[in-house]
Amino acid sequence: MESTLDIFVKAIFSENMIFAYFLGMCSYLAVSKTVKTAVGLGAAVIFVLTVTVPVNFLLENYVLKAGALEWLGAEYAELDLSFLSFIMYIAVVASIVQLVEMLVEKFAPALYGALGIFLPLIAVNCSILGGALFMQERQYSTILDATAFSLGSGIGWFIAIVAIAAIREKLRYSNVPGPLRGLGITFIVTGLMGMAFMSFMGIKYGEEAPSEDVETVTTMIDTNKENNIN
């Protein structure tokens, strides 16, 4: 089975929240005009993801999942509250964000100055809820795996937004065709970055992964015709 380290590395690169799943695109596009703000939002996402996913993991495994309430007594073993999971996750995310905001403001004013304005934005950032939903779907078996996944996803998101912000800063000096300026070119550049990130799929995860060559973007493009079936 996948080791914790695999999960972590995979979450950063080949299953990058932005490039593979497009999660958190709204704030990714809106807050990537300068590197400075991008770093702030990226750091806030890492922080919130790493806090909320483990909490949601506990919630999922000890409250929501079918049979999760067994610890309350045998008569609760039959209960399946998983239909409530969306609402519980979003509630947890919203309240943790609020809580974190208050705590940071009180105990770390400097950090608050840096992250403060981004925290409220994050409650509705798809990558946070996405983290919780992927955790549920992939059914990580230990809280350590879930944490590794959330930390990795956060770092992946951070890398993505800082990279695009740096590119956009440079793009300002290039002669982009009028209608493409701003949003259009950002989409296309993100697409190109996504292709670059796809080569990370070649990283060998786990011990039973093959030792020879790997799936890469090149082989994808000129896939042998005989296998090219829809």
């Binding site: 497009f22 996405g130 939903l133 009028g178 209608p179 493409l180 190109l192 015709k225 079936i229």
Partner: protein
Amino acid sequence: MSADKKSSEPLFSKKNKKLITDPLTDNNPVTIQVLGICSALAITVQVNQAIVMSMSVLFVIIMGNWIVSMLRNLIPSRIRIIVQLLVVASLVIIVDQVLAAFLPDLSAKLSVFVGLIITNCIIMGRLEAFAMANKPWPSILDGFGNGLGYGAILILVAVFRELFGSGTLMGFPIFGNALPGEESGLYAMGYQNNNLMILPPMALIIVGVIIWVQRSRNKALIEEH
């Protein structure tokens, strides 16, 4: 809603029509307002998925707008965001449950992206910006318009990706049979599907191109740096 009908304004007045048509073109939620992109891209590999996703969003945004608009004079302002989230999350759960019960195969393919409708910024954005301040009927129209505008982009992207990526539309082959050994149509002449279309990055590039086309036609939308 009866109160609105009695009012002097006709149901489909010019203003109300604009509520529907604007989001389809010059105020499109995806390409102009840059909202709701998260879910817009991941499920556009097949037209079927895009249609089901659009319908789900349409349902959630119309119902959400309507409910929040009905409650707008009751919702305490301090907890209004959480109330909106609760309403949206409940609607999404309804959609998810119904899909799982009646369209199990599609529901499995959409996986987490149904749940992510909750954080689709279009929905929260419209609830906060429109439904909190308007009567139910215009809110429904606004939801309908924005849902359609979102769906239009989704389906457009999906048409490109499915047609060129797998050579099918809604699962029906368009360019002939691609099975090795029994190729027909374009495939017999050496045509190949573009596998890159199916991969995530192409979705972004297609949206980029759509924005390009739209802004070339309407110069007013061009951004300054």
